[in-house]
Amino acid sequence: MQVKFIGIHLLITLTVIFLMAILLIILSTFFYLLYKRKRSKQRDDLQRLFYLLIGKVIFNETVISEKGENNKRIIIPRKFQKKLKKRYARQVMKTVILDSKNNLTDAYGENLKILYNQTGLKKDALRNLYFDSRWYLKADAIQELSRMQQADCLHHIYRYVNHKNRYVRMEAESAMINLWGFRGLRFLNFIAYPISEWQQIKLLRQLAHFKYEEFKGIEKWLRSSNDSVVIFALKLVRVYHRFELYDAVKEVLLHPCADVRKNCIITLRNIYREDTALLLIKNYDQEGRDCKLAILDAMSEAGTEDVIPFLMEEIEHGDDEYKLKAANAIMVVKRGEGLQLLKSQPFAGSFPWNEIIVQLKGEEAG
């Protein structure tokens, strides 16, 4: 009976704890909902007010120049100054400035930069960057400085390119490009961590906003010990059609990482020369499936008559995906005669060739 008593006692204690937790959670839920509603109203009021100020700032109504055009100052009415002493109001102001900056051309954005500095938001961002240990505040600060085009902060930002937190270094890399354009790519010289595919897409997208200028360093990046840097360099070569780097790219075909080699094949396909097709099939047998399929795809672009014997071997591959890709390449290389060549093969009437040929015929006609 003593055992039972302990059981009951334990159960009652736990139930009371659960009931107290329930009460706390319900109160927290409603308190939070109320708080959110109040905050939302407060935010709307502040936004309305700040957009008014920003409208005036943009159209130079509250801007005065001191000692020349480069020394502009904004007259911030006292009621705004008073409000901006509060943390939440500063947060709203920051959002309003960033949103406005996004929607304005550089000429109008200049005044916003002045306002950003003058309200101390830049100092706040730098303080978060240096002294706050929370990664998301650091990353947020970098993004903010970058969006506000604070080029003078580049020396603060660049050291975060090798930060231990992935998101902080991603923002730092993006900021380098955003503030420095193609020159910002120099972070690739010393980056220690891998660059994710997502980040590579983002960086390429950011670069697309800049007027193209010849940038140096790709040869070095193609030899980087960081595989992701090599892959990114290969993407840069193909996106910016850097045909002159063909020889440097060619060497990457022997890279130990299969993913790098696959990207190299895709890049060579984009900047191909007459010898590319033969070069690609040189190490074909040693490659894995992904690279082999990439090579067969490349044959549709870079293939020449010289590779027809190789392609004829591949159409007899056990895997139908190889067959189809090789057949596609033959159709391109042989132009008009490809279908006849395939039809003349002894296996042409059997599955899957009967179906593949019908498809190719349809594609040729279409």
Partner: protein, 476 residues
């Protein structure tokens, strides 16, 4: 002490110990999920998903949606799927031998023509009768595969054979996706260069009573139906707490069949969806994980907590019963097929934690609950019951059930806050309060019936009545 007392005490304390262990697990899951949710929210605040939509370097997706007797809604459903905001996309609708006019309606509405297209059959499927593409360039993303009926898994496999892209998204054709759903699904596959992301699961939310216009969700409304509202709570607990925690542990065993993305090559290398189980979604994830563990390659199965996919849940007891019955059978079939994983160190966390958790707390829990209920009746009738102990135990369990639901409601409010009104919160809390008395016993009964049906070898999906966009996502 008589033998009856010994047996009685063993049973009572066995149940008590089991309850404490399962509750401890749930507390762990609840707390552990918070960290992951906070991290995701912070992470998300820096991301501009639109860049994927315009980038030529973005990965391409093949979206596979099986359709069986969907004639009433198929045109709207396909229109909704075609409007997804993603450039590099092909939409493969697999007509799984529908007996109604599904195919005919598609041909007419989308100006389809049969085309000669070689299908590389890497997974054996029921014969494909034809592949259709639209003459209208506006619908160039659409491919319709017409095949003989072989069930959902067979249709998905036909889609996998047809898919041209490396990333595939398998969805229920009647789901309503958020416009940015694919942009968000793509990101985890591109994030970590050192780990192979093999699958990504998305949240499925309840669309009953929500306002939907032109295949798009316009306004979220808490369902009017009680049964649907109970399921809203279930989904909140499962997706916001359970899956978040399992994702953090990298121990997810289930990606909802209603909305999940996979690496095609790995799914095919594993043999695709199994046609021998009704729980093909869970079985594929377990098989893919097992495959990667055996290859000793680092991998991850991720999960996105953003509400991306909306589906109508059953509001009819009969249909709900069939659905839960099927989920139970699917779970047991998967666990049985992969019994080798059970506490097998070779499979790491998969064998030592994920599988045992599913065995003890997802498969066994309803059986033990059902058994306990019968025992209480027997003990009560024979006067053996200690009422103080029984009531303490009952209040203990009920208070925890309510606590867990209330916590899920709080987390929902703190994160996505889909039901922002105070009135909705009160309604949800009230639903959580009555759930253990009204809804939970039914769910336990359906699960027990699932076990019995499996024992009696009754298989199949059962008829699903469609009312707009009804669907059957799996949870837990």
């Amino acid at each position: 002490m008589s033998w009856q007392t010994i047996v009685l005490n063993l049973l009572i304390y066995g149940f008590l110990a089991y309850s404490i262990v399962i509750i401890s697990f749930y507390i762990f899951i609840g707390i552990y999920s918070v960290g992951e949710t906070i991290k995701y929210m912070h992470k998300n605040s820096f991301v501009d998903y639109r860049l994927l939509a315009v980038s030529p370097e973005a990965p391409a997706f093949s979206v596979i949606a099986p359709a069986y007797n969907e004639g009433v809604t198929i045109i709207e459903n396909v229109r909704s799927l075609l409007s997804i905001y993603y450039n590099e996309l092909e939409l493969i609708i697999v007509n799984d031998g529908s007996k109604d006019d599904t195919l005919h309606k598609l041909i007419e509405a989308y100006d389809l023509e049969k085309c000669a297209l070689f299908v590389n059959v890497r997974i054996p499927v029921k014969p494909v009768r034809g592949v259709y593409k639209s003459r209208n360039p506006v619908f160039h993303k659409l491919i319709v595969v017409d095949k003989e009926n072989g069930g959902k898994a067979d249709a998905l496999n036909a889609g996998l054979n047809m898919a041209a892209h490396e990333l595939v998204v398998c969805i229920d054709v009647d789901c309503v996706l958020e416009q940015d759903a694919l942009l968000k699904m793509a990101k985890p596959f591109l994030e970590n260069p050192q780990i192979n992301m093999i699958a990504v699961g998305g949240v499925v939310r309840v669309a009953n009573s929500c306002k939907i216009e032109n295949g798009r969700l316009v306004k979220v409304v808490l369902p009017e139906s009680w049964i649907a509202r109970f399921q809203v709570l279930e989904y909140m607990r499962a997706f916001l707490l359970g899956r978040m925690a399992w994702s953090r542990l990298n121990g997810l065993l289930l990606i909802s069949g209603a909305f999940g993305a996979f690496k095609r090559q790995i799914a095919i290398a594993c043999g695709g969806y199994s046609t021998k189980t009704v729980g093909e979604d869970m079985e594929l994830v377990v098989r893919m994980r097992r495959f990667m563990e055996e290859k000793k390659e680092p991998y991850k199965v991720a999960y996105i907590p953003d509400p991306l996919c909306w589906t109508e849940v059953p509001t009819d007891m009969k249909i709900l019963g069939r659905q839960r019955n099927r989920w139970t059978r699917g779970t047991i079939e998967t666990l049985w097929r992969h019994k080798r994983l059970f506490f097998n160190r070779r499979y790491g966390l998969l064998g030592m934690l994920s599988y045992p958790y599913w065995f003890f707390f997802e498969f066994l829990a309803p059986l033990l609950e059902g058994f306990g209920f019968i025992l209480i009746i027997i003990f009560a009738l024979s006067g053996l019951i200690n009422w103080i102990f029984f009531l303490s135990m009952l209040f203990f369990i009920l208070s925890f059930e309510f606590l867990y639901s209330a916590f899920a409601i709080l987390m929902e409010g703190l994160t996505y806050n889909q039901y922002p009104g105070g009135r909705d919160t009160v309604r949800l809390l009230f639903t959580a309060f009555i759930e253990p008395f009204v809804y939970h016993p039914l769910v336990v009964w359906f699960a027990v019936r699932g076990n019995i049906d499996l024992w009696r070898r009754q298989s199949g999906w059962g008829e699903m009545t469609r009312k707009g966009f009804q669907s059957t996502p799996k949870m837990f």
